[in-house]
């Protein structure tokens, strides 16, 4: 469904990604793991159009989408849950969700999508009138995911959903990811929490210094001695 071939990108003269290729088939979940500064967030921002792609080909359902600006990517069915959640803190939960359905296609289905998100995350319904910035980290993550789902995406990009959360809440966030997968959504998730992420994805890529060093099914990577030594600590 989402496919990247030899994608390069960077900031000004600094290159952060060197010919990255990856594939997320429909209905599957892909994971990108790697250390700090490997280019994981850059990769997510390139896919969601926040950073322009310098080279390579990116397709969505076979259509080339590389180089589109962020607001057009959402129309192509790619929704992004940014790193650090990035909610609109002074707006209420429901206002955040409403803005999530900003694009015309989503606006027309706003009520249905809102029901769906509230069924997935009943907690958000309880908190609908609350300013998003005043909720706990886990609830904010829930709201950020809900906001992305409001555009009825085909692919959901999640950047470090567990970052900055307490261990128990991290567990809850990964439960959320499982629930979203059960809804049939295609997911691409970037995480430093290697052990946890390999439990929820089908296929994973190891990104180091801007290029893919290893890739394989989640089970393969879990048993890979390099990953076990460097990232799981066994």
């Amino acid at each position: 469904m989402l496919s990247l071939a030899s994608v390069s990108a960077g900031y000004g003269s600094f290159q952060a990604l060197f010919g990255v290729s990856l594939e997320v088939p429909k209905g599957e979940a892909g994971g990108v793991i790697g250390p700090n500064g490997a280019g994981k967030t850059t990769l997510m921002r390139v896919i969601s159009g926040l950073i322009p792609m310098q080279e390579g080909v990116m397709t969505m359902d076979g259509r080339p989408v590389g180089g589109l600006p962020a607001h057009r990517m959402v129309e192509q069915g790619i929704a992004h849950v940014p790193e650090g959640r990035r909610l609109f803190p002074r707006l209420t939960v429901e206002e955040n969700l409403r803005i999530g359905a900003f694009i015309p296609q989503a606006r027309a289905r706003f009520a249905d999508q809102l029901d769906w998100v509230y069924t997935l995350f009943p907690r958000l319904k309880d908190r609908r009138e609350q300013a998003a910035g005043t909720m706990s980290g886990g609830e904010q993550q829930m709201c950020a995911i809900g906001r992305a789902l409001m555009s009825k995406p085909k692919v959901l990009l999640m950047d470090e959903p567990s970052a900055g959360l307490a261990p128990l809440v991290v567990q809850q966030v990964f439960d959320l990811v499982r629930r979203i997968r059960e809804e049939g959504l295609t997911v691409l998730i970037v995480e430093q929490n290697v052990q946890q992420v390999l439990d929820v994805v089908d296929r994973a890529y190891l990104l180091e210094v801007g290029s893919i060093k290893l890739s394989g099914s989640a089970a393969e990577l879990k048993n890979n001695s390099f990953i076990r030594q460097s990232y799981i600590g066994l």
Binding site: S48, G49, L50, P69, A70, H71, V74, E75, A79, H80, P82, R86, L87, F88, P89, R90, L91, T92, E95, R98, I99, G100, F102, I103, A106, R107, E129, Q130, A131, G133, T134, R147, A148, M150, S151
Partner: protein, 331 residues
């Protein structure tokens, strides 16, 4: 709601009847209040979303000078000159806005860029002395009562025009407030990247509101120029005017429909009142008091006067109705 509607109707009736019973000096004040209220409202269209422009003096100056110059030198009617000045303001807004928004120049940096814009237009007006009269100012050729020249010795006409203009300003505010643009702009003002990530065309939304705001400000400047019939770079353009626009709007309240209008009412009555009261006794005292009051206003009522009153009302309503929704950070 119906009560509010009745109040609105009574207000409009008084507004229509006003010129028949107040003395010319006060009519002059009311016209100025309305014209400035229009300009402040135009500024607040973007100011309320945190796009603080210190460059609106430039748009006002262009609005005032372009039709006047065209009239004096080419006998071109303001009916063509004003749309031209609006066009020039829009063009300038795009020339400044596009790179700023593209390169994510926001907050203080945006304020500085627009501040420079104010100064550039002011200096250009002063430097083009042979054409604009420089710091000595500029007076339009008078032809007496004329719709063609948009000149009316009878203040009643300008009063009518000012009321219509002011209502146009309020209408523009309402249109944005009730439209989807408001959601988009609110999101952008909170977090530009997140707004882009949910599908908002950040550049387009910001540019659109900037262009609308600049065009309306130029229109306000044009009518103000036609009314006053004497243009001076310092009084219709430049940093002083830009600052006046920013402070008066904020003091009145940029988050409320009538905030900028109250800001205009307050600042003008204050300057006039202090001026009349002090007369020639303590030169500068009026300005000092005016400045102090403005600073106090902004410190203690960051939501502006109207915003603060609305906040108090909302709190009362909530106390009267304990089942109401839990409080929200915004008022």
């Amino acid at each position: 709601m119906t009560f509010n509607r009745v109040l609105t109707l009574i207000g409009l009736a008084i507004l229509i009847a006003l010129p028949t019973f107040i003395p010319p000096y006060f009519l002059h004040l009311v016209i100025q209040i309305l014209l400035w209220a229009f300009i402040y409202t135009a500024w607040a269209l973007m100011g309320r979303f945190g796009f603080v422009s210190f460059g609106h003096g430039a748009f006002m100056g262009i609005g005032a000078y372009v039709p006047a110059l065209l009239w004096n030198y080419y006998d071109l009617t303001p009916w063509i000159g004003i749309p031209l000045s609006l066009g020039i303001s829009v063009l300038l807004a795009i020339i400044i806005g596009y790179p700023c928004f593209r390169l994510k120049v926001v907050g203080h940096y945006f304020a500085l860029v627009t501040l420079a814009l104010s100064q550039v237009v002011l200096l250009s007006l002063v430097a083009a002395r042979d054409v604009t009269g420089g710091s000595l100012g500029f007076t339009q050729k008078t032809v007496g009562h004329s719709w063609y020249a948009l000149q009316f010795p009878d203040k009643g006409y300008f009063y009518g025009i000012a009321v219509v203009l002011w209502l146009i300003g309020l209408l523009a505010w309402q249109r944005i407030d009730h439209g989807i643009s408001r959601e988009a702009l609110e999101a952008i003002s909170e977090d530009e990247d997140a707004a882009a990530a949910v599908g908002i065309n950040v550049l387009r939304e910001k540019l659109r509101v900037t262009v609308i705001s600049a065009a309306l400000t130029a229109l306000g400047g044009a009518i103000y120029g036609q009314y006053i019939m004497y243009l001076n770079p310092e009084t219709v353009s430049g940093i002083a005017v830009s600052l006046q626009i920013v402070f008066a709007s904020i003091a009145g309240g940029v988050y409320s429909l009538l905030g900028p209008t109250v800001g205009s009412l307050l600042t003008l009555s204050l300057t006039e009142g202090l001026r009349v009261w002090f007369g020639a006794n303590f030169i500068g005292a009026a300005n000092t008091i005016y400045g102090i009051l403005l600073v106090l206003c902004i410190i203690f009522m960051p939501q502006g006067i109207v915003g603060t009153i609305e906040g108090i009302k909302a709190r009362r309503r909530r106390m009267a109705k304990p089942s109401a929704a839990p409080s929200n950070v915004r008022t």
